[in-house]
Protein backbone atom coordinates (compact mmCIF):
# COMPACT_ATOMS: atom_id res chain seq x y z
CA UNK A 1 0.00 0.00 0.00
CA UNK A 2 1.10 3.54 -0.66
CA UNK A 3 1.68 6.38 1.80
CA UNK A 4 -0.39 9.57 1.70
CA UNK A 5 2.54 11.43 0.09
CA UNK A 6 2.70 8.91 -2.77
CA UNK A 7 -0.92 9.51 -3.78
CA UNK A 8 -2.21 12.13 -6.23
CA UNK A 9 -5.69 13.19 -7.20
CA UNK A 10 -6.70 11.48 -10.44
CA UNK A 11 -4.48 8.41 -9.95
CA UNK A 12 -6.30 5.33 -11.26
CA UNK A 13 -5.57 1.70 -10.51
CA UNK A 14 -7.08 -1.56 -11.75
CA UNK A 15 -8.05 -3.55 -8.65
CA UNK A 16 -8.93 -6.94 -10.14
CA UNK A 17 -11.77 -9.03 -11.56
CA UNK A 18 -14.26 -11.52 -10.14
CA UNK A 19 -16.77 -13.87 -11.79
CA UNK A 20 -20.08 -14.13 -9.91
CA UNK A 21 -21.19 -17.76 -10.34
CA UNK A 22 -24.76 -18.81 -9.56
CA UNK A 23 -23.43 -20.82 -6.62
CA UNK A 24 -21.51 -17.87 -5.16
CA UNK A 25 -24.55 -15.57 -5.58
CA UNK A 26 -26.86 -18.03 -3.80
CA UNK A 27 -24.35 -18.80 -1.03
CA UNK A 28 -23.94 -15.14 -0.12
CA UNK A 29 -27.67 -14.42 -0.43
CA UNK A 30 -28.65 -17.42 1.72
CA UNK A 31 -26.52 -16.05 4.53
CA UNK A 32 -27.09 -12.30 4.23
CA UNK A 33 -29.77 -11.30 1.71
CA UNK A 34 -32.37 -14.05 1.21
CA UNK A 35 -34.60 -12.21 -1.26
CA UNK A 36 -36.08 -14.40 -3.98
CA UNK A 37 -34.32 -12.66 -6.89
CA UNK A 38 -30.94 -13.45 -5.26
CA UNK A 39 -31.78 -17.12 -4.59
CA UNK A 40 -33.74 -18.49 -7.54
CA UNK A 41 -33.17 -18.21 -11.31
CA UNK A 42 -36.88 -18.11 -12.18
CA UNK A 43 -37.70 -15.48 -9.53
CA UNK A 44 -34.74 -13.46 -10.82
CA UNK A 45 -36.04 -13.63 -14.40
CA UNK A 46 -39.45 -12.36 -13.25
CA UNK A 47 -37.89 -9.48 -11.28
CA UNK A 48 -36.67 -6.07 -12.49
CA UNK A 49 -33.18 -7.63 -12.65
CA UNK A 50 -34.10 -10.08 -15.45
CA UNK A 51 -32.03 -12.96 -14.04
CA UNK A 52 -30.42 -14.40 -10.93
CA UNK A 53 -28.80 -11.27 -9.48
CA UNK A 54 -26.04 -10.91 -6.89
CA UNK A 55 -26.89 -9.07 -3.68
CA UNK A 56 -25.52 -5.53 -3.82
CA UNK A 57 -23.70 -6.26 -0.56
CA UNK A 58 -22.05 -9.25 -2.25
CA UNK A 59 -20.75 -6.92 -5.00
CA UNK A 60 -19.44 -4.43 -2.40
CA UNK A 61 -17.82 -7.19 -0.33
CA UNK A 62 -16.10 -8.63 -3.42
CA UNK A 63 -14.75 -5.17 -4.27
CA UNK A 64 -13.33 -5.02 -0.71
CA UNK A 65 -11.82 -8.49 -1.15
CA UNK A 66 -10.04 -7.40 -4.34
CA UNK A 67 -8.89 -4.12 -2.74
CA UNK A 68 -7.27 -6.02 0.13
CA UNK A 69 -5.60 -8.49 -2.26
CA UNK A 70 -4.30 -5.58 -4.36
CA UNK A 71 -2.97 -3.87 -1.22
CA UNK A 72 -1.19 -7.06 -0.19
CA UNK A 73 0.35 -7.29 -3.67
CA UNK A 74 1.62 -3.70 -3.39
CA UNK A 75 3.00 -4.42 0.10
CA UNK A 76 4.94 -7.45 -1.23
CA UNK A 77 6.35 -5.33 -4.04
CA UNK A 78 7.39 -2.60 -1.58
CA UNK A 79 9.02 -5.20 0.67
CA UNK A 80 10.89 -6.68 -2.31
CA UNK A 81 12.27 -3.20 -3.10
CA UNK A 82 13.24 -2.75 0.54
CA UNK A 83 10.73 0.11 0.94
CA UNK A 84 8.75 0.84 4.06
CA UNK A 85 5.23 -0.67 3.92
CA UNK A 86 2.25 1.62 4.53
CA UNK A 87 -0.50 -0.01 6.60
CA UNK A 88 -3.80 1.69 5.84
CA UNK A 89 -6.23 2.52 8.61
CA UNK A 90 -9.95 1.84 8.82
CA UNK A 91 -12.63 3.54 6.74
CA UNK A 92 -15.09 5.95 8.35
CA UNK A 93 -17.64 5.14 5.63
CA UNK A 94 -18.68 5.83 2.06
CA UNK A 95 -21.12 7.91 -0.01
CA UNK A 96 -22.89 7.60 -3.35
CA UNK A 97 -22.99 3.82 -3.58
CA UNK A 98 -24.83 3.06 -6.84
CA UNK A 99 -25.95 -0.40 -7.93
CA UNK A 100 -26.28 0.84 -11.51
CA UNK A 101 -27.06 -2.44 -13.30
CA UNK A 102 -27.68 -5.92 -11.95
CA UNK A 103 -24.74 -8.32 -11.60
CA UNK A 104 -26.16 -11.56 -13.01
CA UNK A 105 -24.93 -15.15 -12.68
CA UNK A 106 -21.89 -15.63 -14.91
CA UNK A 107 -20.97 -11.93 -15.10
CA UNK A 108 -17.30 -11.00 -14.65
CA UNK A 109 -16.85 -7.63 -12.98
CA UNK A 110 -13.59 -5.68 -13.24
CA UNK A 111 -13.06 -3.17 -10.45
CA UNK A 112 -10.96 0.01 -10.54
CA UNK A 113 -10.23 2.86 -8.14
CA UNK A 114 -9.52 6.54 -8.81
CA UNK A 115 -8.42 9.12 -6.22
CA UNK A 116 -10.89 12.04 -5.98
CA UNK A 117 -9.94 14.06 -2.87
CA UNK A 118 -7.21 14.04 -0.22
CA UNK A 119 -6.55 16.06 2.93
CA UNK A 120 -4.64 15.67 6.17
CA UNK A 121 -6.52 14.80 9.35
CA UNK A 122 -6.76 17.64 11.87
CA UNK A 123 -7.41 15.34 14.79
CA UNK A 124 -4.83 12.73 13.78
CA UNK A 125 -1.89 14.51 12.08
CA UNK A 126 -0.11 11.22 11.36
CA UNK A 127 -2.95 10.28 9.01
CA UNK A 128 -4.32 11.55 5.72
CA UNK A 129 -7.93 11.13 4.60
CA UNK A 130 -8.39 10.00 1.01
CA UNK A 131 -11.59 9.64 -1.01
CA UNK A 132 -11.51 7.22 -3.95
CA UNK A 133 -14.21 6.34 -6.49
CA UNK A 134 -14.43 2.57 -6.83
CA UNK A 135 -16.18 1.30 -9.95
CA UNK A 136 -17.20 -2.09 -11.31
CA UNK A 137 -17.58 -2.79 -15.05
CA UNK A 138 -19.01 -5.98 -16.55
CA UNK A 139 -17.67 -8.03 -19.47
CA UNK A 140 -19.77 -5.94 -21.89
CA UNK A 141 -18.11 -2.73 -20.71
CA UNK A 142 -21.20 -1.55 -18.80
CA UNK A 143 -20.68 0.33 -15.53
CA UNK A 144 -22.57 -1.69 -12.89
CA UNK A 145 -21.22 -0.42 -9.54
CA UNK A 146 -19.84 2.83 -8.19
CA UNK A 147 -18.99 4.10 -4.72
CA UNK A 148 -17.09 7.02 -3.18
CA UNK A 149 -15.04 5.47 -0.36
CA UNK A 150 -13.14 7.24 2.41
CA UNK A 151 -10.04 5.78 4.11
CA UNK A 152 -7.35 6.78 6.59
CA UNK A 153 -3.94 6.58 4.87
CA UNK A 154 -0.69 6.84 6.88
CA UNK A 155 1.68 9.76 6.26
CA UNK A 156 5.32 9.05 5.53
CA UNK A 157 7.81 9.84 8.29
CA UNK A 158 5.17 10.18 10.97
CA UNK A 159 6.20 8.38 14.14
CA UNK A 160 2.95 6.47 14.49
Amino acid sequence: MRFFEDIEIGQRREIGSFTFTADAIKTFATQFDPQRFHLDEEAGRQSLFGGLAASGWHVGSVCMKLLVADGQRQAREAAARGDEIAIWGPSPGFRELRWIKPVLAGDTISFAGQIETMRTSEKRPEWGIVQARHTGTNQRGELVYSLLATAFVPRRNSNS
Binding site: D33, S47, L48, F49, K65, G89, P90, P92, F94
Partner: protein, 186 residues
Protein backbone atom coordinates in the same frame (compact mmCIF):
# COMPACT_ATOMS: atom_id res chain seq x y z
CA UNK B 1 -41.68 11.78 16.35
CA UNK B 2 -44.15 9.07 15.31
CA UNK B 3 -44.00 5.86 17.22
CA UNK B 4 -45.81 3.66 14.72
CA UNK B 5 -47.35 1.79 17.64
CA UNK B 6 -50.20 0.36 15.63
CA UNK B 7 -48.05 -0.93 12.81
CA UNK B 8 -45.13 -2.29 14.76
CA UNK B 9 -46.78 -5.37 16.33
CA UNK B 10 -48.01 -6.49 12.91
CA UNK B 11 -44.53 -6.34 11.46
CA UNK B 12 -42.58 -7.89 14.30
CA UNK B 13 -45.11 -10.72 14.46
CA UNK B 14 -43.89 -11.95 11.09
CA UNK B 15 -40.28 -12.40 12.20
CA UNK B 16 -40.75 -15.86 13.63
CA UNK B 17 -42.55 -17.36 10.65
CA UNK B 18 -40.68 -20.33 9.20
CA UNK B 19 -40.01 -19.03 5.70
CA UNK B 20 -38.63 -15.63 4.73
CA UNK B 21 -39.88 -16.27 1.21
CA UNK B 22 -43.50 -17.45 1.15
CA UNK B 23 -44.95 -18.96 -2.01
CA UNK B 24 -45.68 -16.20 -4.48
CA UNK B 25 -49.43 -16.49 -4.86
CA UNK B 26 -52.23 -13.99 -4.78
CA UNK B 27 -53.53 -15.11 -1.40
CA UNK B 28 -50.23 -14.69 0.42
CA UNK B 29 -49.70 -11.32 -1.27
CA UNK B 30 -53.03 -10.00 -0.04
CA UNK B 31 -52.54 -11.32 3.46
CA UNK B 32 -48.91 -10.64 4.16
CA UNK B 33 -47.16 -8.28 1.80
CA UNK B 34 -46.23 -4.75 2.88
CA UNK B 35 -46.52 -2.19 0.12
CA UNK B 36 -45.39 1.42 -0.38
CA UNK B 37 -48.37 2.73 1.62
CA UNK B 38 -47.14 0.83 4.71
CA UNK B 39 -44.03 3.04 4.94
CA UNK B 40 -45.08 6.58 5.89
CA UNK B 41 -42.32 8.87 7.20
CA UNK B 42 -41.47 8.26 10.86
CA UNK B 43 -40.27 5.43 13.08
CA UNK B 44 -40.74 2.08 11.38
CA UNK B 45 -39.40 -0.45 13.87
CA UNK B 46 -36.58 -1.95 15.90
CA UNK B 47 -35.15 -5.35 14.98
CA UNK B 48 -32.88 -7.76 16.83
CA UNK B 49 -31.00 -8.20 19.06
CA UNK B 50 -28.66 -10.39 17.07
CA UNK B 51 -25.46 -11.90 18.50
CA UNK B 52 -22.37 -11.55 16.28
CA UNK B 53 -19.96 -14.38 17.09
CA UNK B 54 -16.19 -14.36 16.91
CA UNK B 55 -16.33 -17.30 14.49
CA UNK B 56 -18.48 -15.46 11.96
CA UNK B 57 -16.37 -12.28 12.28
CA UNK B 58 -13.23 -14.27 11.42
CA UNK B 59 -14.95 -16.27 8.65
CA UNK B 60 -16.26 -13.17 6.85
CA UNK B 61 -12.94 -11.35 7.23
CA UNK B 62 -10.99 -14.34 5.89
CA UNK B 63 -13.19 -14.43 2.77
CA UNK B 64 -13.82 -10.74 2.01
CA UNK B 65 -11.65 -8.44 4.12
CA UNK B 66 -8.48 -10.21 5.34
CA UNK B 67 -6.87 -7.18 6.96
CA UNK B 68 -4.97 -7.82 10.21
CA UNK B 69 -7.35 -5.55 12.21
CA UNK B 70 -10.18 -8.04 11.41
CA UNK B 71 -8.20 -11.29 11.81
CA UNK B 72 -5.28 -10.96 14.21
CA UNK B 73 -5.75 -9.96 17.88
CA UNK B 74 -2.27 -8.44 18.28
CA UNK B 75 -2.32 -6.45 15.05
CA UNK B 76 -5.86 -5.32 15.86
CA UNK B 77 -4.80 -4.11 19.31
CA UNK B 78 -2.15 -1.91 17.65
CA UNK B 79 -4.60 -0.56 15.04
CA UNK B 80 -6.71 2.60 15.24
CA UNK B 81 -9.66 0.40 16.26
CA UNK B 82 -7.87 -0.86 19.40
CA UNK B 83 -8.86 -4.51 19.17
CA UNK B 84 -10.42 -7.13 16.94
CA UNK B 85 -13.40 -5.81 14.99
CA UNK B 86 -15.70 -7.05 12.25
CA UNK B 87 -15.26 -5.87 8.66
CA UNK B 88 -17.52 -2.93 7.90
CA UNK B 89 -18.87 -4.90 4.95
CA UNK B 90 -19.76 -7.72 7.32
CA UNK B 91 -21.74 -5.26 9.45
CA UNK B 92 -23.53 -4.03 6.30
CA UNK B 93 -24.31 -7.61 5.28
CA UNK B 94 -25.65 -8.49 8.74
CA UNK B 95 -27.74 -5.30 8.67
CA UNK B 96 -29.22 -6.47 5.34
CA UNK B 97 -30.07 -9.86 6.86
CA UNK B 98 -31.74 -8.20 9.85
CA UNK B 99 -33.82 -6.10 7.43
CA UNK B 100 -34.78 -9.22 5.43
CA UNK B 101 -35.85 -11.11 8.55
CA UNK B 102 -37.53 -8.04 10.01
CA UNK B 103 -39.62 -6.79 7.09
CA UNK B 104 -38.06 -6.91 3.60
CA UNK B 105 -38.99 -10.60 3.34
CA UNK B 106 -42.64 -9.49 3.71
CA UNK B 107 -42.36 -6.39 1.52
CA UNK B 108 -43.13 -6.00 -2.19
CA UNK B 109 -39.56 -4.76 -2.60
CA UNK B 110 -38.04 -4.47 -6.05
CA UNK B 111 -34.52 -3.86 -4.73
CA UNK B 112 -32.45 -0.78 -3.97
CA UNK B 113 -30.60 1.56 -6.35
CA UNK B 114 -27.87 2.24 -3.79
CA UNK B 115 -26.84 3.92 -0.56
CA UNK B 116 -26.70 7.71 -0.21
CA UNK B 117 -24.38 7.62 2.77
CA UNK B 118 -22.99 5.03 5.17
CA UNK B 119 -20.92 5.85 8.24
CA UNK B 120 -19.02 3.31 10.32
CA UNK B 121 -19.05 5.08 13.69
CA UNK B 122 -17.57 2.54 16.12
CA UNK B 123 -16.11 -0.96 15.81
CA UNK B 124 -18.36 -4.05 15.89
CA UNK B 125 -16.69 -6.41 18.36
CA UNK B 126 -16.95 -10.21 18.45
CA UNK B 127 -19.71 -11.20 20.86
CA UNK B 128 -21.68 -7.96 20.48
CA UNK B 129 -25.48 -8.11 20.52
CA UNK B 130 -26.70 -5.60 17.95
CA UNK B 131 -30.09 -4.00 17.30
CA UNK B 132 -31.30 -2.21 14.19
CA UNK B 133 -33.52 0.89 14.28
CA UNK B 134 -35.29 1.78 11.03
CA UNK B 135 -36.89 5.13 10.26
CA UNK B 136 -38.54 6.22 7.02
CA UNK B 137 -37.08 9.64 6.15
CA UNK B 138 -38.91 10.05 2.84
CA UNK B 139 -41.57 8.19 0.84
CA UNK B 140 -42.51 9.33 -2.65
CA UNK B 141 -44.17 7.86 -5.73
CA UNK B 142 -41.78 7.13 -8.58
CA UNK B 143 -42.20 9.43 -11.58
CA UNK B 144 -40.77 6.94 -14.07
CA UNK B 145 -42.64 3.90 -12.65
CA UNK B 146 -45.84 5.22 -11.04
CA UNK B 147 -46.84 1.71 -9.87
CA UNK B 148 -43.89 1.92 -7.45
CA UNK B 149 -42.68 4.23 -4.73
CA UNK B 150 -39.25 5.06 -3.35
CA UNK B 151 -38.92 4.64 0.42
CA UNK B 152 -35.75 6.17 1.85
CA UNK B 153 -34.72 4.62 5.15
CA UNK B 154 -32.34 5.71 7.88
CA UNK B 155 -30.91 2.60 9.51
CA UNK B 156 -28.91 2.76 12.75
CA UNK B 157 -27.12 -0.24 14.28
CA UNK B 158 -26.33 -0.11 18.01
CA UNK B 159 -24.51 -2.46 20.38
CA UNK B 160 -25.96 -3.60 23.72
CA UNK B 161 -24.50 -0.49 25.42
CA UNK B 162 -26.52 1.68 23.02
CA UNK B 163 -23.43 2.92 21.16
CA UNK B 164 -24.08 3.69 17.49
CA UNK B 165 -21.90 1.46 15.29
CA UNK B 166 -23.25 2.33 11.87
CA UNK B 167 -25.69 4.71 10.19
CA UNK B 168 -27.02 4.26 6.66
CA UNK B 169 -29.33 6.33 4.45
CA UNK B 170 -30.65 4.18 1.61
CA UNK B 171 -33.66 4.11 -0.75
CA UNK B 172 -35.69 0.97 -1.51
CA UNK B 173 -38.16 0.62 -4.41
CA UNK B 174 -41.51 -0.78 -3.21
CA UNK B 175 -44.67 -1.57 -5.19
CA UNK B 176 -47.74 0.50 -4.43
CA UNK B 177 -50.70 -1.31 -2.93
CA UNK B 178 -52.84 -1.13 -6.08
CA UNK B 179 -50.06 -2.90 -8.00
CA UNK B 180 -49.65 -5.51 -5.24
CA UNK B 181 -53.34 -6.38 -4.90
CA UNK B 182 -53.86 -6.60 -8.67
CA UNK B 183 -51.16 -9.28 -8.66
CA UNK B 184 -48.70 -7.60 -11.01
CA UNK B 185 -45.60 -9.70 -11.35
CA UNK B 186 -42.28 -8.16 -10.41
Amino acid sequence: MRTGGLRLPQITATIGLPSANPPFNRHSILRMTLSFEDFPPGRFGTFGPRRVTREEVLAFAAEYDPQPMHLDEEAAARSMLGGLSASGWHLCSIMMRMMCDGFIGRTASLGSPGVNELRWLAPLRPGDDITLDMDVVEARVSRSRPETGIVTFRAVVRNAAGQELCEMISPVIVRRRAAVTSGQAG
